[in-house]
Amino acid sequence: MSGGTEIPVRVTKVTMVADRIKRFRFERLDGRPMPYFSGGAHVIVSMNDNGHVRRNAYSLMSPPYDCSAYEISVLHVEDSRGGSSFMHEKVREGDEMRVSHPVNLFHPDWRGRKHLLIAGGIGITPFIAMMEQFSREGAHFELHYAIRTRDRGAYCEDLVASYGPHRVKIYCDAENNRIPVARLVDGQPLGTHLYVCGPTGMIDGVLKAGLEAGWPQQNLHCERFLSTPPGKPFTVKLTRTGKTIHVGHHESMLEAIEAAGVDAPYLCRGGACGQCETRVTACEGKLLHNDIYLSDEEKAAGQKVMLCVSRFEGAALHLDL
């Protein structure tokens, strides 16, 4: 089976934690413990919307060593294609859902002498579990967390209360407070690792500031909450199964292929892990590579495509599936 074994769970609690952000607690239907996970890990949540299955990645934010349940926090994005709207509008306490085993594409470098965490908005989620783990293991860390407004910022008070204002710093746009990134990356002790998660612009800005301050790439880490950008509909032909599949505006190639009953491999569904890499057998037109997995050369060569986030414009696309 693709994407890992799914665990049937019940939604045992839904909490509104901030404007447009809800927390969901999942417990196993069979009453057994959840698998442990590592800070930074996410699960794929399968949402069954009247027979239409959507799958989104959500970072685990419950304590990694607490196997009684998993918790995620979901931002209701504007113009959602459906996933976060479904979570916010349809999911109720007592509902049954399925989540994958944890996958971690944003794990801390445990060699780090110090861990510098930079979060923007909903990008806080992976860090909540990471900090639990750091503090339990006695690792040295510091969080800088940017929010737009106080009522949109999730968990600010809790985090300051748990770890103290010397380790958790909050910056609020509405109060004209910005993370002083350039100053932060200057003067960190040798062996510090930096992790950033948040809006694309913020991630790019922080990584750039790090490189400009002479940091080596090996010490800079990020996680992007990529999702398929909506695009023009297109058609793709699967040469092995002989199926022709229509991909609509608001679905990814992977979703359309799954809906047609073809089992395609995946893990992150966010263009990061490489699992859904598929060989292109013919392409008349332009591949829109939206992933961060393939190298620029591979993208230019056009021999491979990542089903979960990439799209196509043109006359014909044939895939080896």
Partner: protein, 346 residues
């Protein structure tokens, strides 16, 4: 059913032998009459009774003797166990995995009682009954990885995942086919596989690495590897090469059956939950040629594999001095009849 553990040695008088039942469950690695490197990985799921896959971590009749041999090796050379400081979480993950799997597979021999962080571990074959705090290294007599791998058959490496690669950052290695943990610790996947011939050029390692980087929790995978050893010696380390190297020159047509051993490694790979590292278990099985020929299919197939082995592999595996003699001896058991597909006895 309780296992009847044997008293035997892997050095000096080499009294190690397999019981007839243990021969039947030997993990013969060849599913056809020839061999070449490949990305031979398959899901590590439970197999039938009477195979080494009956439990996901296999314990057999050699358990006590192997643990005794490991203790002897460590007394001579403590560097066979090493762990870099950032691997502590992965050590605890490994301790949990091995205790859980051994207790699940062999409840009459091993028991794990968990009460929050207070754990009690009972290992009846070795007479151990310890209570400790999970996560607190001061409550165990050794580091967690050393503690549990002194009580588990096979060699163990823990590899850390960083920067799109795997790094061998901890291990217990006392039953190895001629490689040194002390030398390789800290290397990445391509580096520690550096000495292996042909496989790099074939793209085997590139594909295997890509696969492992995505290895998922709860879905372990396995592969076979094999070589040959003269005398049933577990510790064929480079460190002790001057001790076992001369054995290779002692093979004669008269002693092939006793001295020459097929050495099979069942390698399993597990994503560890708290550390996101991967545990690599190298479980070594030895069987001499007298034992091997008791299974007619294996007796036909093995000389054919040896005959068609690429020269680079003969040299790398160190078979040069005794391959011919072994093939000649085995040829009397090969009537040329076709062999059935698969690895199991007919």
């Amino acid at each position: 059913m309780a296992i009847a553990f044997k008293q035997e040695t892997f050095r000096d008088d080499f009294s190690y032998r397999n019981s007839p039942e243990n021969i039947r469950r030997f993990p013969f690695p060849f599913d056809r009459d020839e061999y070449m490197y490949s990305v031979n990985m398959e899901p590590h799921v439970k197999g039938q009774k009477g195979t080494v896959f009956e439990s996901l971590i296999d314990v057999d009749e050699h358990y006590i003797a192997e643990m005794h041999d490991r203790a002897l090796v460590l007394k001579e050379d403590p560097l066979r166990y090493q762990a870099l400081p950032h691997m502590m979480t992965a050590q605890w993950d490994t301790l949990e995995l091995l205790m859980e799997e051994q207790a699940a597979g062999y409840p009459e021999h091993f028991t794990l009682i968990r009460n929050g962080d207070q754990w009690r571990w009972i290992n009846r074959p070795l007479g151990i009954d310890d209570t400790f705090t999970f996560g607190d290294r001061a409550t165990l007599p050794y580091e967690p990885l050393e503690y549990i791998t002194r009580q588990a058959q096979g060699d163990f490496c823990i590899v850390d995942q960083r920067d799109g690669n795997l790094w061998m950052d901890a291990g217990m290695v006392t039953t190895q086919a001629d490689w040194s943990l002390d030398f390789d610790i800290g290397m990445n996947f391509m580096e520690w596989h550096g000495p292996v011939p042909l496989a790099h050029q074939m793209g085997v390692f590139e594909r295997a690495l890509k696969f492992l980087l995505n290895l998922q929790q709860g879905k372990p995978t396995r592969r076979f590897n094999w070589t040959m050893t003269i005398n049933p010696r577990l510790d064929t380390s480079p460190e002790n090469y001057p001790k076992w190297g001369p054995d290779r020159a002692t093979v004669t047509p008269e002693n092939v059956g006793d001295k020459v051993h097929l050495r099979v490694e069942v390698q399993t790979l597990w994503r560890l939950p708290r550390s996101n590292a991967i545990l690599f278990v190298i479980r070594c099985y030895l069987m001499n040629m007298n034992e091997l020929v008791t299974v007619p299919k294996w007796a036909r197939r093995f000389p054919r594999v040896l005959r068609t082995l690429p020269p680079e592999l003969i040299d790398y595996k160190g078979l040069t001095r005794y391959r011919e003699t072994t093939m000649d001896w085995l040829s009397k058991y090969d009537d040329g009849a076709p062999t059935s597909p698969g690895t199991f006895p007919d």
